[in-house]
């Protein structure tokens, strides 16, 4: 039996759509609640980011509890940056006990790119080891080899960077993640379908589902900024140029158009198993993108 509704869909032939919400910087969750309510029935699952770009925020676990309470399907993003193996396991036990069954295992961005640059980075585990840790917990033991009272079970995923400028080491790591137990992948932002095609040629030999990452941008300035400052984001020049040609105030519209165009192409070509839309602050336009992409 599937461990979650999302896993059930992963095992079907459905073209999957996931998206993500970033929790607030503060205790006021009203905006996040509004976004979750707006998105929960339009997508197959909602990721909640874990101090994205190393910026301190309301926790991903808290956000996933909200998604659950509001009747949505959460994907808990877990990074290794801020917690050692004790804290990671404890958080996962809490998540499981509250009905959260999907986990995206990430190493996490460097502390240096965030807003608490003086903090101590943890990285007790890396993403591959985190995947493996979850599979160990599912065997009824913790990482120390002790019996667990109540065994959790998760549908686990990881990330991959098909457009990396040096792809070979990324492919090796992708394969290690598959072997460690990853069932699905949400990729870093994709703009250039050629790199996705090449990657899928390699990835299709494995029994995993790949959701192509779609980053929604709102201006040439944002595109340039993300290209230069956000880890793992490579925006090709033709996209920046396309934004640069747009009249003022119409940037987000262009972003929606590019996202919808990319999604449509991926779906029509049956390039991968779905898409993961990252709207970074513009989550409210996700329904518009889905509509424009005929989803």
């Amino acid at each position: 039996m599937a461990k979650s509704l999302f896993e059930e869909k992963l095992n079907s032939d459905k073209f999957l759509v996931t998206t993500e919400v970033g929790p607030p910087k503060g205790a006021d969750v009203s905006e996040m609640v509004h976004l979750i309510e707006m998105l929960k029935d339009k997508v197959d699952a909602i990721n909640v980011t874990d101090h994205q770009s190393s910026v301190m925020r309301f926790p991903s676990l808290g956000g996933c509890l909200l998604v659950k309470e509001l009747g949505g399907e959460p994907i808990l993003q877990v990074t290794c940056r801020d917690r050692n193996r004790l804290a990671l396991q404890a958080d996962l036990l809490l998540a499981y006990s509250r009905g959260i069954r999907n986990v995206l295992c990430l190493t996490g961005d460097s502390i240096d790119v965030g807003d608490h640059k003086e903090a101590k980075p943890v990285f007790d585990l890396d993403s591959v080891q985190l995947l493996k840790m979850i599979r160990i917990m599912e065997s009824g033991k913790d990482m120390g080899g002790n019996d667990l009272k109540g065994t959790p079970e998760f549908c686990i995923g990881a990330s991959v960077h098909p457009a990396a400028d040096f792809i070979e080491p990324q492919l090796i790591k992708f394969e290690k993640k598959v072997v460690a137990g990853a069932q699905f992948f949400q990729t870093q932002g994709i703009y250039d379908l050629d790199s996705l095609r090449r990657f899928m040629q390699f990835a299709s030999q494995f029994q995993v589902k790949i959701l192509a990452g779609i980053i929604v941008m709102a201006s040439a300035r944002m595109a340039r900024y993300m290209n230069e400052n956000v880890p793992g984001v490579i925006v090709p020049q033709f996209i920046i140029d396309e934004f640069a040609g747009v009249e003022k105030g119409k940037g987000l519209q262009k972003g929606i158009e590019i996202a919808a165009r990319t999604i449509k192409a991926i779906k029509e070509e049956k390039l991968c198993h779905g898409v993961h839309i990252m709207a970074v602050g513009n989550e409210r336009v996700v329904p518009e993108i889905l509509e424009a992409a005929d989803l």
């Binding site: 240096d112 993403s127 080891q129 990482m143 990324q170």
Partner: protein, 231 residues
Amino acid sequence: MIVAEQKPLEEIGQMIAPYEKVLILGCGTCMTVCGAGGEREVSFLHGALQVAQARSGTNVHDFVEYTVKRQCDFEFLDLVADRISEVDAVLSLGCGIGVQAIAERFPDTPVLPGVNTSFMGMTSEWGIWDERCAACGDCRLDETAGICPITRCTKGILNGPCAGTKNGKCEANREIDCAWVLIYRRLERLGQLEKMRRYYPPRNFRTIPRPRRIVSRVKVEPGESNGQIAI
């Protein structure tokens, strides 16, 4: 070697404020090589502190300078016992080990750190030092083609690069090579890429309980004729 940087003059000024007679003590080994606290730096610092004192018009301090071969061994510190007994405090330009050795050997004399001990590294070019070893106590450089991911990857991860690497550089600092890109290229060159495909389990931090101690299996005698293996 151990690499350090001299503390700002202002911070040193605040530390020495309560003491009249101060010995500025250099170290002839690593601190000399990395330009943080050898004979030359002791002399410069001595001059700078005198100038600062003259400018402030207070003239409360009386400085003496000296440099020992190594501050981290008592046998070298014993040679300056007389000098230390004549001052109110020692401003050590040795690394943190030197400072602590002085504190242990001379329990009645305050000792102040004149440098910030930074890391273990090598001279990349004169004036540039790079960290190369984290002294993690569990060396596995054979698996990573002689390039240490614990030290040289900002996240110290063991199973390959994160997705933040761009143009072969680290996401945390664009001036610094991604350790895993270096490891990949060298493993490829050596025909050992299978080492990167292996799964490496989480580190065992029990190999490095602090403080660490090594008891030599070599019989070490003081003086020149040491180094006989005890069987």
